[in-house]
Amino acid sequence: MQAVTDNVFRALADPTRRAIFEHLSRDGEQTVHALTYRAGVSQPAVSKHLGVLKRARLVRCRHAGRETHYSAQPQALAPLVDWMSVYGAFWRDRFDQLENLLKRMDP
């Protein structure tokens, strides 16, 4: 699970890949051509980024004629929806508040 999470983080650490993934999440399936047009980098570069996203299972592709269509797989983010990290920060903050309160309370 940790390896999967790292893959997802690394895939999304790059701003261009992040933009591609967000674009696919927002607007649905796109061809490599359309993504290249939007990304502002060369098609080989876009294909390489898509390969990284695909290995992290963040995107899926299907071939139709001469075009390859990519779509976002937001469920790949599931490993990151980690309640422990959310609640870890939450409870540490509340522990601080509890200690502040205890100082104010009568013994």
């Binding site: 790292d6 983080f9 690394r10 999304l12 650490a13 992040r18 937001p74 469920q75 983010l77 599931a78 990151l80 929806v81 980690d82 309640w83 422990m84 959310v86 609640y87 870890g88 409870w91 540490r92 509340r94 522990f95 508040q97 509890l98 200690e99 502040n100 309160l101 205890l102 309370m105 013994p107």
Partner: protein, 140 residues
């Protein structure tokens, strides 16, 4: 019901220079709980259903549904905690020490179906976007 394969536990422990009885009051008296945790209708009665209410945010009404499971003053308090696609139990354990009390909070839970499908995922997505820069900054 419980998928033990995905159940996980968060533990936070701290030494506090106060008597267990005093900390117990902070953990179990509604107005005190509100001061450090959230508004609530908690009662230290096993079986009592109550809720914590946080500020509503997008995709979440801010309500945490709970039920009191164990009340053993001033040592152990357990309540269930259901919110944001998480089914969990929160256990407070107070142990006297020479200088005060060892406070241990353990939250054990697992993502619920509902959360996996909708709410938790949405919340997680927002959280993820918000934290991504910071998290990935520490990776390289």
């Amino acid at each position: 019901m419980t998928d033990t394969a995905t159940a996980r536990t968060l533990v936070i422990e701290r030494e506090m220079p106060h008597a267990p009885e005093k900390i117990w009051r902070a953990l179990t008296e509604g107005p005190w709980i509100e001061e450090w945790l959230m508004t609530n209708d908690f009662q230290p009665v096993v079986g009592h259903r109550f809720s914590f209410r946080a500020m509503p945010v997008k995709n979440w009404n801010g309500v945490i549904e709970c039920e009191v499971l164990v009340v053993e003053p001033p040592e152990r308090l357990v309540y269930s905690w259901s919110a944001l696609g998480l089914e969990s139990a929160v256990t407070w354990t107070l142990t006297p020490t020479d200088s005060g009390t060892h406070v241990r909070m353990e939250q054990t839970g697992f993502p619920s179906e509902e959360g996996a499908n909708y709410k938790g995922a949405k919340y997680g997505w927002q959280k993820f976007i918000g934290n991504m820069e910071r998290v990935v900054g520490g990776l390289d």
